[in-house]
């Protein structure tokens, strides 16, 4: 199997599993229990927090562990909106955010908040002028992803941070698709809130984190026993948190070399593909992208069919963000970049990872060429 769906999820690093096992075995204590056996687990959780803070570039007390990246996004958006409601009811985001952000904005609209969805360029980059123009006295939060999950296009979050800081508006950055891929330390982006998800950087599923800059107003979404300094109640997923830290530490370590390697492979893949297959385009090709992602549009055929064609040839690809609904909607990201419905429908995403090798690229290009040719033979559209 050639796995080219790393933006959906990544394999757990064996070292991370190794680090988790004691906490799934003989060290099962509850970190909040008032005995040394529980304290042992507390020390593990706090140690993991320190390791992740070191990767991210922040203080340990600024890391809040959550159950998923989605939950972290929800905490950032709902938590800011509810904490800052007295100051204003206007939020700004982009049309290309992950559903964890977009659908949460919709939910906040239903609560009476106003949300601006900023357009992006044909290259998939958010329009900075539009962003600046959107900021008003009522604006309390801007939420912009660091890199898009479908296209890999990196957003100018540092520039945005400069704007929001100047205006006294809080900034949330969803860094799920850049953490462990870009050398820039997320804590240095200038954001007040940053989302991470363990399973996107070779950690386990079931753990996310939100960086909450000290002093950032935030109302908790999940209340109870006061865990995570009151920001996220619930017994800690000790093993998951320890695995997250182990994976993050290893993934951030040596990140630059690996990024270069993977972007080399991705460029090679795109080059070969453009040479081999007619009527294909690379979405966001002209923009800065994370090294591992390639969004491809094939004229006249359907993305799901291409993905199945690849699947039957032993290659895991995706039509875009892995949404659980199985809805036939084409990517809202590509539509926002100006692609037609049919162009968006003819798109797939290849996302490379640590295990990807030269041969995988060659095999994939050949398989794609075959699949595309076969589907075009069937297609009623030219």
């Amino acid at each position: 199997m050639i796995y080219l769906d790393h933006n959906a999820t990544t394999p757990l690093r064996p070292e991370a599993l190794e680090a988790m096992l004691p906490w799934l075995g003989e060290r099962w204590g509850n970190p909040s229990s008032p005995h040394r056996f529980g304290h042992d687990a507390r020390v593990a959780v706090e140690g993991a927090r320190e390791r992740i803070a070191a990767c991210v570039g922040c203080r340990p007390s600024e890391i809040v562990f959550c159950g998923t990246g989605t939950e972290s996004d929800n905490l950032a958006l709902r938590g800011s909106a509810h904490a800052l409601r007295p100051k204003g009811r206007h939020l700004v985001t982009t049309a290309i955010e992950h559903h964890a952000v977009l659908h949460t904005c919709r939910a906040l609209e239903a609560e009476g908040f106003r949300v601006t969805y900023l357009p992006v360029s044909a290259g998939g980059v958010v329009d900075l002028d539009a962003l600046e123009a959107s900021l008003g006295p009522e604006t309390i939060l801007v939420s912009v992803m660091h890199a898009n999950n479908d296209t890999g296009v990196v957003q100018p979050v540092e520039e945005i941070a400069a704007l929001t800081r100047e205006r006294g508006v809080r900034l949330h950055v969803d860094a799920v698709q850049t953490a462990g891929k870009l050398a820039r330390r997320p804590g240095d982006l200038g954001a007040d809130l940053v989302t991470f998800s363990a399973h996107k950087l070779y950690g386990p599923k079931g753990v996310g984190a939100l960086y909450v800059r000290e002093g950032t107003p935030l109302t908790p979404v999940t209340t109870g026993g006061g865990h995570e300094r009151g920001f996220r109640a619930g017994t800690e997923n000790v093993a998951g948190i320890v695995g997250f830290a182990e994976a993050a530490a290893r993934t951030f370590d040596g990140l630059e070399a690996e990024s270069r390697r993977v972007s080399g492979l991705r460029d090679r893949l795109e080059r070969q593909l453009l040479e081999t297959v007619p009527r294909v385009s690379v979405n966001g090709a002209g923009s800065t992208r994370v090294p591992n992602t390639s969004s491809l549009s094939f004229q006249g055929i359907d993305g799901e069919s291409i993905v199945l064609g690849l699947d039957l040839r032993g290659i895991c690809a995706s039509t875009g963000s892995a949404c659980s609904t199985g809805e036939p909607e084409p990517s809202h990201v590509l539509l926002a970049m100006g692609l037609s419905r049919r162009e968006a429908q003819g798109s797939i995403r290849l996302s490379l990872g640590r295990a990807t090798r030269d041969e995988d690229v060659d095999v994939t290009v050949a398989a794609l060429a075959e699949t595309v040719q076969q589907l075009r033979r069937i297609s009623s559209v030219r």
């Binding site: 977009l102 969805y117 199985g326 809805e327 036939p328 084409p330 069937i378 559209v381």
Partner: protein
């Protein structure tokens, strides 16, 4: 600028189910679709073109009728695996059938012949049967026109 992206809000509680429950038969038809292509102008007794505006899928279908039966059938399909496989299966079901029988083929017949299709893919399976109905309508029209001429 407050242009909300064009996508549905998830209605809590709507059953969605697994994305990918393709049967072996469906996969086989996807891999080796039957009756792909077009019929020559001269061979064509009926033609149908239908599209599913909700998902962008499109299908073209040609039939040749001899002795009140579907003697030849061919299709082209732009769409998801479900659309391709159901189209293929439909042509197999229709080929050789008397017109009246072909007319009675339903979506459920196609789905059953494929051994089922994921819930969220069912709307794709409509295209094949629809296209056949359109093509049969076209054939009828041509027959009527011929009868009027002769």
């Amino acid at each position: 600028m407050t242009n909300a992206p064009d996508e549905p809000k998830p209605a809590a509680g709507t059953p969605t189910g697994p994305v990918l429950f393709y049967t072996e038969t469906l996969l086989e038809h996807f891999r080796n679709p039957r009756n792909v292509g077009e019929l020559a102008e001269a061979d064509t007794d009926g033609f149908g073109l239908v599209g599913d505006p909700s998902c962008g899928d499109q299908m073209k279908l040609w039939i040749a009728v001899r002795d009140g039966r579907i003697a030849k059938i061919a299709f082209q399909s732009f769409g998801c695996p479900g659309a391709i496989a159901t189209s293929s299966m439909l042509t197999e079901l229709a080929e050789g059938k008397p017109i009246e029988e072909a007319r009675r083929i339903t979506d459920d017949d196609v789905i059953e012949a494929l051994g089922g299709i994921p819930e969220n893919k069912k709307h794709c399976s409509l295209l094949g049967v629809q296209a056949l109905q359109v093509a049969l309508g076209d054939w009828e029209g041509r027959q009527a026109a011929k009868a009027a001429r002769s």
